[in-house]
Each structure stands twice: as structure tokens, then as C-alpha cells.
Amino acid sequence: MAGLTFADVRFWYPATERPALDGVSLAVAPGDVVAVIGSVGAGASTLLLVAARLAPRVTGGTLEGVVEAVPAGIVLPTPWTQSSGMAFTVADEVAFGPANLGVTRDEIARRVDRWMARLEVAHLAGRDPATLSGGELQRVILAGVLAMERDLLLLDEPTAELDPAGAALVWRLIRDLARTEQKSVLVATSDLDAVPDFATHVVWLDKGRVRAAGAPAAVLTADAIWTSGPGSTTVAGLWRRAGLAAPAPLTVADLLARVR
């Protein structure tokens, strides 16, 4: 059963005429890591909110079309608005979600240790979340959402506040979760250079419509993605600007293989 299915979904925010989503259909199966890319305002964040059943229920607005989704964990791009406000230590912050679900105390302790370790924030366990840097807090919030152990993961710019090492850790973790734990993962990101490394599929959204969907190599090498989309990876951009034959390589490794 797919973790998430959209069938011709349209969604309007309150008091706005133009739909944020205008007939979107897609499916995310266990094991998939689908990267949603698009220019700012294309609707990627809205897509995740609808998939998490937060829109229209919490955001207000009107929804049309069919949305089938297993219970989801969602992480929004601004960590400082995601902290529970009820936890005075990092460990309690990670435990917040599972505790609300009524999970037993022993199981909560196991999950907290497991996910703090996987996000490498165990050394911050006793710290007050308010004293963390943006990057540290983002990893703590991610650990807190993952600790709810949902089958569908919705991540909006999960590496926005992270340094390169932190970002690499998160992209690797996302790929492993899909592959080894059969999670269905939907990631909205503007870090296009990372997409070929972690994504199994790419969906390009433009003004609330799906312009293209498929494997990263297919979607990210289309010329139109430069002319009317968010662009592609840095290497693909260099190759295109150099006027070299399509399809462009996506990563540095691809480029070196092609040129050497």
C-alpha cells in the first residue's frame, strides 16, 4: 500500500483566489524518497501540509481531490517554531511526540536514545533546547519527529540550518530510512546538488501543477528546468553553460567520469 497517494488534488488557502495546488497527482511508496522541487511559491510546502492532513484542518482553506496517507511525521523549515515549548531538556524534547502518543516510558527511553544517537545529538541530551544553535535544534526536532516512528515522513527543507557535515548526515539518514526501514519519504528542498544523492524520484512543481516527475537523471537534465524552473545541480549548470551535449552530468563524479 502506498504511503501517500494524491489524485487530482487542488487546495486554496483562506482568502486567496489562486489555488496553491492545482490538480496534483502523485504516489510515494515505502522505500521511495521523492524530492519535490520548484521555484519559491510553487506549492512544495503546501503539498507536504496537505499530505500531513494539516491543511485544511489546521491551516484553513478548501481542498478538492483524493488524498490517501498513512499517519505522517512532518518537519517544517523553521526549527525555532517547532520546539514543543514543554521540554526543558533536549531529551524531553525528543520524547515529546512519543509521550503524547501514550507510548510506555521504557519504550520512550529506548526511542529517545536511538534517535538522538542517529542524529548525533546525544551529547546535547541535558541541554535546554532554547540554548541550541539553529543547526543543533533542527537535528533535535528531526529526532523528535522520527521518534514517533511514523511510516510516512514529510520533510520541508530539513537541512536549511545545517552545516555541510550536518546536511550530509541527514541526507544519508533519509536514504537509509527508506531503504532499510521501508519508510515513504517526501522531501521539499532547494538544495538541488544533494537531490541526485538521496532521491529515488523527483517531482517538479510549478504554480501548483506537476511539470515533470521521474528519476532525478530524467527530470534534472531537462532544459526547461533552467528556463522556467528552479534550475538543476551546479555541475549540470556548468555543463549547460559550457554548451556541451545533453544530457548533462548531475554530480562532480559524473562530470569527471565524462570528461576524463
Binding site: A52, V58, S84, G85, M86, F88, G97, M148
Partner: protein, 225 residues
């Protein structure tokens, strides 16, 4: 004392001022003030003497103001009652970490929303204060002068207060999304992470304190009548 159940600590911190106002002045209030100061000496999060010093320093100005305003007897009665309230509160804040009260509320079965409101408020205040100062700095770097006549300063106040309120309101939706998705309204009874130990002895103490307050009130009403 700091190991006692949070509700017991609350009971003491509420009973002492209540008794101070209901027992006949000034001896009743002198007694409750003495007890409150003794409590301050019990080792809390900071050494007892530190708490005692804070309690006395916070209460001291009122003694001065009251003796300026009233005759000796009235001033003494009010000062002792006020000092009991101040000392009890300063002791409670020093000895009861908010996290333990949150756990006690959750363990006692109160809706997690009650615990959320209390804890989220405490953690939101320093964040918002830091943001307010950051906005003051940022607006001054955009040329905003904060000195000048009252009218210019009122206009400047608008450029400092409005961004804080608008940005805070904007984030309420994102906070609600985060809390919703992390199960704050999940309906399942929330698991207390570290329920503070309670005992029948403490429950007895709590109920006697409540009874003492009621007796104090009834006594004052009857005695006054």
C-alpha cells in the same frame, strides 16, 4: 524539601500567605513570615542563604513604603503579610523547577493542555524578549532614532512594537502545525516522563494545610462578626 512532590510545595507556598492574611495581626503574620524564611533556608536549587537574601531584598522596599504611608501598627501588619507572600513565592520559584511541576500535572491526569500552557509560556518569554531586543537593534541600524520629542518616540515605538507582534502572530500557525503533528491533541493520555514520587504522608500534609487555611478564614469571619 526539594525532593517533595510539587503539589506539596505549592500547598505550602499558598497556605502561608493565606494564613498570614487570616490569622490575627501582627502575631499570626509574624509566625507565617518566620516559617516562610525558614523554608527559604532549606537547600533549593541555589544555596538557602541566597534564597533568603533574595526574599529579604525583595520584601525590604515595602517595609519602607508602608512605614511612610501608615501608622506603626497598620504598617507592621501589612508588611508582615506581604513579606510572607514574597518569601513563600521566592522560595517556591527557587525550589520547584518548572519541569517537575509539568510532570506532576501530567501524572495527576490533568489535560496536557494545562501543562502546555504553563510550560510554553515560561519558554516563550525569553525567546520573545531576545527577539524584541534584536528588532530594536535592527530598526536602529535602518536609521530609526529612538530619541527626540514624545511624538517621534511614539512613532518609533510603533516601528519597534509592530514587527514583534506581527512576527509572533505569524509564527502561531507554524507552532500549531508542529504541536498538532507531534500529537499534542492526540487524545491518548500523555505518558508522564518522570512522575515525581508522592506519598500518603504528603497528601495528609497537603490536606491539613488546606484545612488550616479554611479554619483561618472561618475563624476570621466568625471572630470578626
Amino acid at each position: 524539601m526539594s525532593g517533595r512532590h510539587p503539589f506539596t510545595l505549592l500547598a505550602f507556598a499558598a497556605a502561608l500567605p493565606a494564613l498570614a492574611w487570616t490569622l490575627p495581626a501582627p502575631w499570626g503574620a509574624a509566625g507565617t513570615f518566620a516559617v516562610a524564611l525558614l523554608l527559604c533556608l532549606t537547600p533549593g536549587s541555589r544555596p538557602g542563604l541566597g534564597i533568603l537574601r533574595t526574599a529579604i531584598l525583595t520584601a525590604a522596599p515595602f517595609w519602607l513604603f508602608l512605614f511612610l504611608l501608615h501608622d506603626r501598627a497598620t504598617a507592621l501588619a501589612i508588611a508582615l503579610r506581604l513579606s510572607t507572600m514574597i518569601a513563600s513565592f521566592v522560595w517556591l520559584v527557587a525550589i520547584l523547577p518548572p519541569a517537575r511541576l509539568v510532570e506532576a500535572l501530567v501524572a495527576a491526569g490533568y489535560s496536557v493542555h494545562v501543562a502546555f500552557l504553563f510550560a510554553a509560556t515560561l519558554s516563550a518569554v525569553p525567546v520573545m524578549r531576545a527577539r524584541a531586543q534584536r528588532i530594536v537593534d535592527a530598526q536602529r541600524c535602518r536609521g530609526l532614532a529612538t530619541r527626540g520629542g514624545p511624538l517621534t518616540r511614539l512613532r518609533a515605538l510603533r516601528a519597534l512594537a509592530l514587527p514583534l507582534v506581527l512576527s509572533a502572530l505569524h509564527e502561531v500557525d507554524e507552532r500549531a502545525l508542529a504541536l498538532e503533528t507531534r500529537g499534542l491533541s492526540a487524545g491518548a493520555r500523555r505518558t508522564a516522563l518522570a512522575p515525581p514520587p508522592d506519598s500518603t504522608a504528603e497528601r495528609v500534609v497537603r490536606w491539613t494545610l488546606v484545612a488550616a487555611c479554611v479554619a483561618g478564614v472561618v475563624g476570621r469571619v466568625l471572630w470578626r462578626v
